[in-house]
Structure formats: C-alpha cells, structure tokens
Amino acid sequence: MDNHNNIHSLEAKFEAKIDSEIKIEPKDWMPESYRKTLIRQISQHAHSEVVGMLPEGNWILRAPSLRRKVALLAKVQDEAGHGLYLYSAAETLGISREELYQQLLTGKAKYSSIFNYPTLSWADIGAIGWLVDGAAIMNQVMLTRTSYGPYARAMVRICKEESFHQRQGYEILISLSRGNAEQKKMLQDAMDRWWWPALMMFGPHDSASTHSEQSIKWKIKRKSNDELRQDFIDATVLQANYLGVNIPDPKLKWNEERGHYDFGDIDWEEFWNVVNGNGPCNKQRIKDRKKAYEGGEWVREAAMAHAEKRAKRKEEKVA
C-alpha cells in the first residue's frame, strides 16, 4: 500500500467512526486539521475559564453577605478547576499546558470576549451567572456530545457545575428584584449592559463564521451559532419576565409562525472591536494574567528545585 492510499484508508476509518458516533480517542489517528481545530477550541475554552476568574474575582472581597462571598469564592474556584480539566484535555492532543498558556499571554490565542467587559456592580455577578453562564451552557451541553472523547467527558462534569452557577446567578438577581429601588436599578443596569454581549458569545452569524461548517461535519459542534443563539433567547425571555427586567431590545417579539422570538440586530462592529483587542478590559485582563504568571515564576522554580533536591537525597540514601 503506498502512502497515499494509507492516508486515505485512515481517513475513511476516522470518518466512519464519526458517522457511527464512536468517540475519537487520543491515540486514534485523526486528520491534522481536526487536531488543530480541537486544540484551538479546547484551549480557547480553558483560557476563557481562567480569564473569566478575573471579572468575578473582582467582587469576592466586596460580596454583600458571607453566604454570597462563600458561593462566589467556590464558583471562581470551580472555574480554575474547569481550566485544569480543559488544559488536560488539550494536552491529550500533544501540546503542553505551558505552551498553551504562552499563547494566551502573547495574545496568539483568544478567549471569550465576554470577559473583556467590566463588573461594575454586585448585580453584574448575578448577570454573569444567569446570562453568561446560561449562554455558555447552551454551547457546553452540545459539547458533551462532541466527537472527541476527552473533551466530551470534561464537558459532562463542567456542565453540572455550570448549571449550578447559573441558578446561583439567577438567585442573586431574584434577591435584587425583590429589594429596594436602588437594587432594582442595579439589576436593570446590569441587564442593559450584559444582554447584547451575552448574545455575541455565540459568535458571528453562520454566514460569517469561518470554522463552523467543518466543525459541524466533524461533529465537534452539533448546532450552528445562530441556532444556539436562538435557543438561548427563547429560553431566557421568560426568566427575564419573571425578574421583571426589561430586555434592551425593542425588536424582541414572539413570532408565532417561527415558534421563536424575533430579535434586533447585533452590533457586529462592537463584537469585532472587542475580539480584536479594543474592549473595555482586554488589556487589563491580559496584564493581570501576566502579572500572576510572572509573579509566580520564582514559586514554580522553587517547587521544581525542591523536588529535584528531594529526589537526589533519596537517591543518595538508597546508594
């Protein structure tokens, strides 16, 4: 069999697996572009978790009650945990966490643009849980069935925790909706600021999305950006009504014929602007991540040096 045929048969085998819903595992042969797409997507997801710790971490010290403080700490800690599983899932594709992290710090790798918006009030912590985690869950539930085994399995665990976070966020907002005038104002203000960026989380329109088609073919994704966005809006409107908040979209309206809500135009100029580094907090987020990374270098070096000393002493003892 010549090389050309060989590749062809491997590809055929890979595609047969995808077609019959058999997960691709780390040691299986896979097309280079499938591997690259996954590394890009999983690491972006991991980076989003660790950058996402920052806007929420911004309110840990000021959380308005001990119960809320503990819940927020635990939530941000979960995100660090999600970052760890996802970096591990990416490592099964033959790249190190260190290399991936460098891509984040140098700006080569992206993370979810939503975290480039600031958390200005306590209500933002509720809005992030409800809208941002809610939007993320739409995507992540789909990813529990993604074709790459380690990613799908990481996602199952992450989804459980995320839906808990979403409920927690919504509950923060329920308290505000039952509170005094200042609290209600805080709630509406957060809604006004987070609604559109949350819709942007699903990415560009299907017609403008560069990676989507191939990803759906490989069953990395199973729904398009626009389908997921519509699912999210349909699920969220009722929850907003229950809170008594106004969704800042005058065109939002139930469409009986489609069986979905119609909604207004997303400001794609803002979207690309934030993606390209001009959001309110892009620079600040990366600066904070760099500061933690560089500030921790001596600690990581010390841990390595100590482990080596220990191993050497043990060796000498045995000898």
Binding site: S65, L66, A80, E182, G296
Partner: protein
C-alpha cells in the same frame, strides 16, 4: 459570663474571617492554578468556620442579629482577631509564612478546644479540626519547599519569616477573656500550647533551612481590639456593600 463567651467566640471567628478575606485576595491571581484552588479551599474553610461561630455568637446574644451583622457591622475596635491575621499578603512567601504561623497555632488550639465544656464550641472545633489538618500540611510543605528551594525563594521566605515573627507571640498569650474562659472550662490554656507551638514552628523552619529569629515576638493588641493600620482598609472593602446600602437584603 455570657459577654465573655461572646468575646471569646469573636476572638476565634474574627481570626478566621480576616485571614479568609486575605486569602481570597489571591483568588484568580495565584502562581499557578493548583495553588489558586488550594488557597481558595483554605479561604472557604476559614470563612465557613467563622460563619458557624458568628451564628453561635448571635444566638447567645439573643438580640436577633445575624452572622452578617457580626461580620459587616462591627468596626475595628470590636474586632478581636490577632494582628498576624490582618497582615497584608505582600507576596506568596509572606502569605505562606503567615498561614503557617497561624495554622500551627490553630491546630494546637483546636486539638484542645474539642474538650471544651461548651458543647457547641466543642462540636465546631471537632468539625474545623479536620480542615485545619489539611491547612497545616499545605502551609508546612510550602515553607519547606520555598525555604529549601532556590536562592531566591529562600531569601524571600527568610524575609517573610523575619518580618512576621514579631506577630506570632500574641496567639499563645492569654488575655483577660482567655483567662475567664479557661476558668470556666470553656477555653483553652494557651500557656499549655505555647511550648508545643514554638517547638513545631522551629522544627519546620529548621527543615526548611531557614534561620530562626532570636528576638522575643513583641507585637500584640488585636485580641483586645487594638489593631494595625491594615485592618481598617480590609474592613472598608469587606463591609462596603452593607455600609453603602444599609438594611438591604442580598
């Protein structure tokens, strides 16, 4: 007796809340993800323990106040934590040194407190002790790793130990509240744990190849409400929402 018991509970609870708040400052900013998770775990444990204690103090007081009133609406002079707990993070070496100095005390203290005549305190101590066993392991291991790591880490760790040494005596020094509670069979005899405290501290510092400061730790006052300048700033941040929106429910 009741007021002394409440004061005693504040001494315990405030240590935990203030140190928990300090550790929370690291959340999202630690040297690596695993350390971030571990520090947050300890913060969660300590704040959780403080909540049990505040609720108990509120119940004893019987004025319908809550754990949040205790944490959010007392000013500096009413706080009873030791000065060590409120010292700033500075860098990872300071954070570890502060944690280690506190954990050694906290561990010995809770091993005694489980025998308290006050059943509620004994039960809280029992539950806390399991968590503190983990804390002391974590902080001791890091003192050793950093002390016996690189030249840089050794120097940073030594500076942290030297600077914080001055604050460690207060934890095992009896004040009036401690004496009263000891007499009632509720509190812990700090004189009894003092020797063990310094023994353990010196043992770990020696293993970490660090110099043991010779001077007598001098600073105290926190347990009687006389604090360093740092506490006011910490409380400003911690209490801001409750002060800015009085009476609001969150």
């Amino acid at each position: 007796m009741k007021q002394s018991l409440i004061n005693y509970i504040f001494q315990l609870a405030d240590n935990k809340l203030i140190l928990g708040q300090r550790l929370s400052e690291w959340c999202g900013h630690a040297p690596e993800l695993e350390i971030d998770i571990a520090l947050t775990n300890i913060a969660l444990d300590l704040i959780g323990q403080s909540r049990n204690l505040y609720s108990y103090a509120a119940e004893l007081e019987g004025k319908g106040r809550t754990e949040d009133d205790m944490a959010y609406l007392r000013d500096c002079e009413a706080y009873r934590n030791v000065l060590l707990a409120e010292q700033p993070n500075e860098d990872f070496a300071y954070t570890i040194a502060r944690q280690f100095f506190f954990d050694v005390y906290n561990h010995l203290f809770h091993k005694e407190l489980v025998n308290s005549k006050d059943e509620q305190l004994a039960a809280i101590a029992e539950k806390s002790l399991k968590e503190i066993n983990y804390h002391i392991r974590f902080s001791s291991e890091w003192v050793i790793r950093l002390g016996d790591g690189t030249e840089v880490s050794h120097a940073k760790m030594q500076t942290a130990v030297d600077d914080l040494w001055d604050y460690i005596g207060e934890m095992t020094t009896m004040n009036e509240t401690d004496r009263l509670m000891l007499a009632e069979g509720v509190g812990v005899d700090l004189n009894k744990i003092r020797t063990a405290y310094f023994h353990k501290v010196k043992e770990i510092l020696a293993e970490a190849t660090l110099n043991i400061p010779e001077e007598e730790p001098f600073q105290k006052g926190g347990k009687d409400g006389l604090h360093s300048e740092h506490l006011g700033h910490l409380l400003t941040e911690l209490q801001w929402m409750q002060r800015a929106y009085p009476g609001a429910q969150w």
